[in-house]
């Protein structure tokens, strides 16, 4: 089997690993039992001004008789700036934000660049030439891809260097920085450095990269990559992409749970509702905590334990 075929296969495997790792972690968390309410205000979907000052429906008399309004607009007003600009970090830890924001925003742009590469590859399959002097569509995709690559790489590289410098130099972070954290940042930096070299010396027009994507889409695994440097960059990048969801960096999608399923989960339990059904199931779980006052034996369930009288001396 040639090196080229191996690279294509690794790319497929890495993409599959990424999807599987994301799915596995998502499903693992998703399938956990319904937890007790643990919301934290402000809750973004509260109606009107409440979302701003942190109020809730519990401020109202007979709140359970009132309509359960949720404002999706208020929710989006909180979510979009947070996801895009890391607003909390900006407000609470500006020093880190100067490094973390460019890093993350650079990664967003690079993800956009990957999408543009895919789009370019598909267009070429349908006869649209992607080049500086191509058709208007082809030319736009060409320049957007290049712009996204340069801007994304610049921001992400700047951010990665800044984060590394802060991890190693800031006394507040040093004691909480494991070797793996440094490895992760160095891994990102390596991918970015090789990407810069590829961009400058091996594939400035992205023709080779686009062709590689096209070959992936058409399963043309014998087509040459055309550049050893590009081959190295592809190898490093796909391994990194597969690695991310296996680490704490999975926060890029697990944040959905921490916000929507914990901080903002103020869904009340209604008699006869779905939440009540889940509680009824979960209080059947056996308890095996060992402290004497729990009086568990591994057979009694939560309902038994919660309703059992204590010994009255």
């Amino acid at each position: 089997m040639s090196t080229t075929v191996v690279l294509y296969l690794i790319t497929y495997l890495a993409m599959a690993a990424f999807v599987l790792a994301v799915a596995a972690r998502f499903v693992k968390i998703f399938r956990m039992p319904l937890h007790l309410r643990w919301e934290l205000y402000p809750v973004a979907h509260e109606m009107g001004n409440k979302a701003k000052y942190g109020g809730s429906k519990l401020e109202e008399v007979d709140w359970w008789t009132k309509e359960e309004g949720k404002s999706r607009i208020n929710e989006l007003k909180a979510m979009i700036p947070e996801m895009t600009f890391l607003v909390l970090l900006y407000e609470q830890n500006r020093k880190l934000w100067y490094r973390s924001f460019p890093f993350h925003f650079g990664l967003y742009i690079l993800s956009g660049m990957l999408a543009l590469l895919g789009l370019g590859a598909v267009c070429e399959l349908y006869g649209v030439t992607i080049a500086a002097a191509g058709t208007s569509v082809g030319s736009v995709i060409y320049y957007l891809t290049k712009l996204a690559a340069i801007a994304g790489l610049f921001l992400a590289s700047f951010g990665a260097v800044g984060l590394l410098q802060m991890r190693l130099g800031d006394a507040n972070l040093r004691g909480y920085t494991s070797p793996a954290t440094i490895f992760n940042l160095l891994f990102f930096l390596l991918v970015f450095i090789v990407a810069w070299l590829t961009l400058l010396f091996a594939d400035p027009t992205f023709d080779l990269t686009r062709a590689y994507v096209q070959n992936l889409l058409t399963f043309n695994l014998s087509a040459p990559v055309g550049s050893a440097l590009l081959g190295l960059e592809i190898l490093l990048a796909v391994v990194l992409i597969a690695y991310i969801p296996m680490t704490h960096m999975a926060h890029f999608f697990l944040k959905w749970f921490t916000w929507h399923k914990i901080r903002w989960d103020d869904e009340p339990n209604r008699i006869g509702g779905a939440i009540e059904q889940k509680i009824i199931e979960q209080v059947q779980y056996p308890v095996s905590w060992s402290a004497p006052h729990i009086n568990a034996d591994g057979k009694k369930n939560w309902l038994d334990i919660a309703t059992e009288e204590i010994e009255k001396k």
Binding site: I29, M32, P33, L34, H35, L36, R37, W38, L40, Y41, P42, Y53, G54, G55, K57, L58, E59, E60, V61, W63, L88, L89, E91, Q92, N93, L96, A171, N172, L173, G175, Y176, S178, P179, A180, A250, H251, L254, F257, T258, I262, R263, D266, N269, I271, I275, E276, Y285, P286, V287, S288, W289, S290, A291, H293, I294, A306, T307, E308, E309, I310
Partner: protein
């Protein structure tokens, strides 16, 4: 203080791991800016040090007896590991498994949360009080002992940690150096929660190892389940006390009241923190006066055995899910037995949260009786026009303390403010306030914990930020001849305020007093005799 104590040093011998030197603490505003004039911190006695684990800092919260032998130490280590496993099991911790796992596995260790913590800040940035310190110890143990390959890779992946009895004893004490106010969680860019980690650590110690603060468990939850109230009052005593309060209040206000007991089908079952009845009888007197004047069909419950009707405390919220569930179920049973339309929770923040929010996913069917905050009902009454007010009777500086459980954790922010804005001409906010408030320093049960020299720690460290906030709120009127009022609509917070004011002699030195919200309402009632608030009873 050892400013550079590392996470892994928690297992290393040192006595203690970090000192809390009052000279390292931030200077308070005037007139407390001279450290020499601040009450001295009593050192731990040699007897306490000899008997109990005290190697964390300069105080003791839990009085954990030292193991008598190596064998006992090993047994305790095994027990801790069993508990750790249960903490991440579906069956034993369904209540918080999802948020705990997320907080364990996704922390970026960016330390954004650190500056939000009043204890970390006001300890002079003592490393062991950093919100991530105890979380990181638990995280490293979790990866090393629960995850496959932990023994081989966790040091490289997550950092070094050694599990021995010293680690466990310090971690247990450390779980009682946090007010569980969750201000740190509010700032986490990833939505993670060091407050929850501390809460669940306390659960591990209580539910598996029987290690807890005796004030919360033996004298709290267990006493409540035995006699009906953590104050020790049985129904006879509580009725007797309320009768006395009714008489006294009627005399003071000139408005006759008689508290109704066990009225079936009442609209409102009012449940106080019974500490109010013992320590702040004017609070119940004010509630009764307001409810009677507004024509509310209300009742108290004298249930003390199969149900719990006259003490809304639920300390399980702070340390033990089983105790939380036992007490919540009995509170709901009291309401069910009387067939009331709703439970109204008196001025007690943790009881608000325990019964309204947390127990919302414990109570099912007929036990799921509507629960409401007194703040909401009081606002409706005050603005209904049923009672005539004379705000000039409250014409003194007033500021509001936001109880974390009620405000940040339930979103009950405005009702109490709107009442104060209407009835107190000199109302001013603390900075920050609302959901960004700081804990009083007595949160998570600390207000009732004063063993050994823990009160000194609570006054010097955990209560320091609130002290600073209060002094700032009244900075232009600190003259002791000007009476000032800190409104704290929460029994636990009031306990902490009382202790702070006494400890620092704030009444005599600054004219600062404290109380609840209902007292201010009755003080402004035009039909009541003036002077409901009694000043300076310290």
């Amino acid at each position: 203080m050892n400013p550079s104590v590392k996470v892994e040093e928690i297992s290393k011998p040192a006595d203690p791991l970090s000192h809390v030197d009052p000279r390292d603490l931030p200077i308070l505003p005037k007139p407390y800016d001279d450290a020499e004039k601040i009450p001295a911190w009593k050192p731990l006695s040699d007897k306490a040090k000899g008997e109990y684990e005290s190697s964390l800092d300069d105080t003791i919260a839990l009085s954990i007896r030292k193991p008598a032998s190596k064998e006992e130490e090993e047994r305790l280590i095994r027990q801790f590991l069993d508990g750790l496993e249960k903490l991440f099991s579906r069956e034993n911790n369904w209540t918080f498994l999802q948020p705990m796992t997320l907080s364990m596995e996704n922390c970026a260790k960016c330390q954004t949360c650190a500056e939000a913590c009043h204890i970390y800040e006001m300890s002079g940035h003592n490393e062991i009080y950093r919100p991530t310190y105890r979380a990181e110890v638990l995280r490293r143990l979790y990866y090393k002992y629960l995850k496959p390959g932990g023994a081989l890779f966790s040091k490289w992946l997550h950092g070094d940690i050694e599990l021995n009895w010293t680690t466990i004893a310090r971690l247990a004490e450390l779980s009682y150096r946090c007010n569980l106010c969750r201000r740190c969680a509010q700032t986490c860019p990833l939505g993670l929660d060091n407050g929850l980690i501390t809460h669940d650590l306390r659960k591990l110690f209580s539910q598996e190892m029987g290690i807890y603060a005796k004030e919360l468990h033996d004298n709290g939850s267990m006493l409540q389940l035995r006699v009906g109230s953590s104050t020790g009052m049985n129904p006879l005593v509580v009725k007797d006390n309320i009768e006395f309060i009714d008489e006294d209040t009627s005399e003071r206000t000139g408005i006759p009241i008689q508290t109704p007991w066990d009225v079936e089908g009442a609209d409102v079952l009012l449940i106080h923190n019974a500490g109010e009845i013992m320590a702040w009888p004017e609070n119940h007197g004010a509630f009764a006066t307001i409810f009677e004047a507004a024509g509310i069909r209300w009742t108290l419950s004298s249930e003390s055995q199969e149900a719990l009707g006259y003490d809304n405390i639920n300390y399980g919220l702070f340390y033990d899910d089983v105790m939380l569930a036992k007490v919540a179920v009995k509170h709901a049973k009291a309401a069910k037995k009387l067939g009331v339309k709703k439970i109204v929770l008196g001025e007690c923040g943790h009881a608000h949260k325990a019964l309204t929010v947390i127990a919302d996913r414990v109570l099912t069917g007929e036990l799921n009786i509507p629960r409401e905050s007194a703040m909401a009902l009081l606002k409706e009454i005050v603005f209904s026009g049923k009672i005539k007010f004379d705000p000039s009777r409250n014409d003194f500086p007033v500021t509001l303390h936001d109880p974390c459980n009620m405000v940040r954790l339930m979103g009950i922010v405005q009702p109490q403010r709107e009442i104060l804005q209407l009835l107190c001409p000199q109302f001013r906010e603390m900075t920050p306030h609302g959901v960004d408030n700081y804990c009083c320093g007595g949160g998570s049960g600390f207000a009732i914990m004063s063993g050994h020299n823990f009160e000194d720690w609570r006054m010097h460290v955990s209560g320091r930020k609130k002290m600073e906030q209060i002094l700032h709120a009244f900075h232009d009127e600190l003259d002791p001849s000007i009476r000032k009022y800190v409104c704290a609509p929460c029994s636990n917070c009031k306990g902490q305020m009382r202790d702070l004011i006494k400890y620092y002699d704030m009444w005599n030195q600054c004219g600062i007093s404290y109380g609840g919200l209902v007292e201010l309402i009755v003080n402004a009632m035009a039909d009541a005799q003036p002077g409901y608030i009694e000043w300076g009873l310290f």
